[in-house]
């Protein structure tokens, strides 16, 4: 209950600070290359409610609309509602995000265990070097490299195994979600390695072995499950990282996700879209962190819900 209240306050804070920041950014969303007469400017301002004082009128209207879940009409896409933009484009980002998280989580657990088991031997060294690369190189570099790689691969094979960019077939999902999850996977691998090392040396493993439990059971139930717990904890921040990383991947792979609309809205000072996407993403992340906390309590009996 307390956590829920904290979440609501966080979202209120996000909404308010975005509102304040946006109205203090210089520039005007209604300006266009072709100057219009002051009369028309006034008409447009009235239409978007920008003619009234920013505080309290605009702020209150805006808060009231948020409570009703109405983010208004876009300034640049003049007859599209922000709610429509969210509804049409968030699922695209969400699909990529889910795939990226699954890929990152699974890969992280797999490679992390591998490095721990083969500690200081060749697989460990190779993977850990790759992990450092994966953490330190920004996503857009991977995206561009991956794209070049696909072009090369398809050229060598003589047919399109994987598409270069775009949206429409299942194959379009694969490379962008892998690229999106790569950084997080590298991060999770490192985490998994250290927690697996802890578990490998733990007393209860030796106990399990001496009890004569089958090795399969020991590995999956005792080692892997316990070592994976810390991975679950960082899933909240990982979801945030993947959500923000999505902007770049969506731009480079020409994917109709919400991220590119957000970036373009910022460039165009499209007030309503900026507000809508920020508040939406903010709420989404707050909810995700809550969900991860709940999940952790379910998986680890030592953690109790207050």
């Amino acid at each position: 209950m307390k956590r829920l209240l904290q979440g609501v306050v966080t979202i209120w804070f996000i909404a308010t600070s975005t509102f304040v920041a946006m109205h203090n950014v210089p520039g005007n969303p209604l300006l266009d290359e072709k100057a219009v007469s002051p009369e028309i400017r006034r008409n447009l301002e009235a239409r978007y409610g920008l003619d009234r004082p920013v505080f309290p009128d605009q702020y209150l209207t805006y808060m009231r609309n948020i409570l009703r879940g109405d983010f208004g009409i876009s300034f640049t896409q003049r007859n599209r509602r922000v709610n429509d933009i969210l509804r049409e484009h968030f699922p695209v980002s969400a699909i990529l995000g889910i795939l990226a998280i699954v890929f990152a989580g699974f890969g992280g657990i797999l490679f992390g265990s591998l490095t721990a088991v083969y500690r200081n031997r060749l697989p460990d060294v190779v993977i850990m070097v790759l992990v450092v690369v994966g953490i330190s190189v920004p996503g857009f570099v991977f995206a561009a490299l991956a794209q070049l790689g696909i072009v090369g691969l398809n050229e060598v094979l003589g047919w399109t195994v994987l598409p270069v960019a775009g949206w429409g077939t299942l194959r379009h999902l694969i490379i962008p979600s892998l690229v999106l999850g790569l950084g997080t996977m590298a991060f999770l691998t490192r985490l998994m390695r250290s927690s697996m090392l802890d578990v490998l040396g733990a007393d209860y493993i030796r106990t399990a072995r001496s009890k004569g439990l089958p090795p399969t059971r020991i590995f999956f139930r005792h080692q892997l499950a316990n070592a994976s717990l810390p991975v679950l904890t960082v899933l909240g921040p990982a979801i945030a990282a993947i959500t923000t990383g999505g902007f770049v991947v969506e731009l480079i792979f020409a994917i109709p996700g919400l991220g590119r609309y957000f970036v373009e809205a910022v460039q165009q000072l499209d007030y309503t879209v900026i507000m809508g996407t920020t508040v939406f993403y903010g709420t989404f992340l707050v909810v995700m962190v809550l969900v991860v906390d709940l999940a952790y309590a379910l998986v680890d009996p030592r953690v109790r819900l207050e």
Binding site: E39, I40, R80, V117, T169, G257
Partner: protein, 559 residues
Amino acid sequence: MPESNQSHRSVGRYLVQLAVVGVFGFAGLVWVLGWLAGLTESTLADAVDADAQTVTIVVAEEPPQLDSSLSTDTSSFMVLGHVMEGLLRYGKDGGLEPGVAERWEIGEDRATFWLRRDARWSDGRPVTAHDFVFGWRRTIDPANGSSYAFILYAIENAEQINLGKLPVETLGVRAVDDFQLDVSLQRPVAYFDKLVAFPSYYPIREDFFASTRGRYGADADTLLYNGPFEISKWIHGARLRLEKNPHYWDKARIRLQAIDAAYFTRDPSTQLNLYREGRAAVASLNVETVETALRKRWPISRFASGAVFYLELNHRPERPTSNLHLRRALSLVIDRDELVYNVIRTAGFVPAPSLFPIWLQGANGPLRNEIPVPPMKVDVDLARHHLELAKRELGVDEIPRLMMLVTDSPTTAKEAEYLQNIFQTRLGLDVAIDKQIFKQRLAKAAAGDFDIVVSGWGPDYDDPLTFGDLFASWNQNNHGKFSNAELDRWVATAQTSLDPGHRVFAFGQIQRILAEEVALIPTYEPGSVYVRHPLLQGVVRRAVGPDPDYTNAYITGES
């Protein structure tokens, strides 16, 4: 530990099992999520398909919306030019052709258009004069706040309506019957035929518009088409597919069956990768990707966008740039060749000596031939002389720091640094660069908060006046408030005269005054370079009108 090897091997086996499960699980998840998202297509279209006469293209930006009364950007104009048709339209060679209007007469105070009877909307109903009246009224209605309303100002009462002083019904356009449109003009307009080809003059059918309940132009099904193509699929952010409109009156002329804008991205390397992969028929190139294209020996085309870039100077009396000698000094030290070929280094750009770009037509041929451009030489000594005169007139020992306002684009950033350096080294001037996002650059320019601003202007209609009236004292886009009574008179002449020779003379006078007074410093005409699939023929690129234009394009069987 002897047992560790044993354990390695078995753990390794478990991990392999886990990996196999993971790969299949991931594939399954892709399948399920893809199915949920409706990603049901299985094949990727080729860049060109000669049998189906289909071309797949990549478009830099998705049109924000396609209500022709409100559109302002080039990608909307490009799509609208394919799916709509005005009274007149742009033809293959860049000239105007009859569109919905079969014939027309344009006089001093009125114009009449006779509409063809076989022009149809995409639901099969005829395009009538009433549809034009409705569309034009929407553009001019101040409640809609169309940025392009000014392009209708030649029509009687248009400006007064747009300023909210007259009701919209008083607009000087009338449907005599279904197929005759009468226009009363506020003043004589030599180029009214060119104006009516502009998207703000496209027809909109009232009953359909009402049925969309404020969502006109937002989606494929909230638009009605009267052009060669119609939008068959519009997935926002992903795809815009145009298919041949079976109701179009001139459909025999149209050879392409479909134009599929299957990718929206302005990333040049993605564009080039799609081209290389055979997925997109055209890719625009930047400084880096042009190298790749050259290495691959692909034929590269270049194209002038029709715009012109210049430095606007602030003529408000409190600004140092209000001094003519200072303005002369600034203009005399800029080496346009150096700027374009060594600094900007983007293929397709050419130095601009005048506000009137090179492609404009005069009375009997290129405007440049009829009104020669004033010479533009770099003369640092003369510039320094003017600088001394400027200091004396302004009564200062040093010119105060000049603020140069620029947009945060890579090209203008390079340009601004070059200019800052030139003004510093050749004239000893202190110039500060004020870099702003586009909207804020506009806001500061409009407020006069600058000494120098890097600006550009693209043409709206195919007449020199689209540039010629920019520095009239009343023009809202004259950010530096340049004001010259003689220039204003020549602009008025060019606006109202119907005599082509006289109008060209007026443009010559405008060009002379702008140069003498250094109202602005023209710098370059931007251009672009691109690669095109060799089997795709007949694509028209143009400075004014929908660009690129695929309405005359086709795909040949062999290269």
